[in-house]
Symmetry: C2
Subunit: 136 residues, 2 copies
DNA sequence: TAAGGAGTGCAATGCCATTGCAAAGTTTAG
DNA sequence: CTAAACTTTGCAATGGCATTGCACTCCTTA
């Protein structure tokens, strides 16, 4: 498992510091989008700022993507290895309003609707709110 | 014009106070989603809290809907007269990253993708980021 | 082995949403 | 008409989360 994580970092030219391994591991373990607060709780002795900056680095290297689920907190989820966070790769996210879990639904490709003449799309964020299978 | 606004309020059983008329008028004039800050700027002498609470009332009565465009600030846009903010009525929003304008694209109905078994959708928020026709 | 750069931790700041409370305005019952 | 009850408003305070400044530690490299 540690190898997998180190490889992921290497693949994106991010130096594998202790903190980075921990953050990436936490995100991979949980298999869902996590907020800074949630990560802080999971990584008990890690400093909030360091996690924040780690996530910033990860974003720049396309290791994670941000998820805006309207909960007021930004969440973060791991990208696929070949992800470039391009428009085509943007996928559906689902927020369960009962358990507050935010799922990456990568299998549900999102259709880009026709937008008015002269508009150019660069990035798509499609969120569905409702209740998840665990909560129903 | 004032009649139109008063009618909109009446239609939703919201008492037409001075502040409510001003806020609704501002939203209708601008024809785009506005943040609390933007409204505060437009309505120079209005108190932020009062605008906030006015918007809260408006939301409860389906006079406006919130727009989450990832800018960090919630924006608000006027609903159609017959709107109930149901899943089917949720529409596309477009954020121009150059001029920070958030458009309601009500003519672009959004397709609800297939979600996993056991998941129930209640609300959809589809945002596209890019550049608008004025900025291109 | 010294110097430069990268990563980290703590404290401080900033920004926006939200709330508490009292004053002002409006409606309603008597 | 008038007082009580309710609604709306304004100001000040609070709270939550994102972000930054700065100094310290750690690692790399010449
Ligand atoms: Mn995702
Ligand atoms: Mn809209
Ligand atoms: Zn759930
Ligand atoms: Zn624009």
């Amino acid at each position: 498992m540690k190898d997998v994580i180190e490889n992921k970092l290497k693949l994106r030219s991010v130096k594998p510091t202790a903190m980075r391994l921990l953050v990436l591991q936490a995100l991979l373990n949980e298999k869902k989008a996590l907020s800074l607060n949630e990560l802080e709780t999971i990584l008990e002795h890690a400093d909030r700022t360091t996690i924040f900056r780690t996530l910033k680095t990860f974003q720049e290297k396309f290791l994670v993507h941000r998820v805006y689920d309207g909960s007021g907190m930004v969440k973060y989820a791991v990208c696929d290895d070949d992800c470039n966070c391009s428009l085509q790769e943007n996928h559906l996210h689902f927020l369960c309003t009962k358990c507050s879990t935010t799922y990456c639904l990568k299998d549900a490709p999102i259709a880009i609707p026709t937008i008015p003449k002269g508009f150019k799309a660069k990035y798509a964020n499609y969120l569905i709110e409702g209740s998840c299978s665990s909560c129903n």
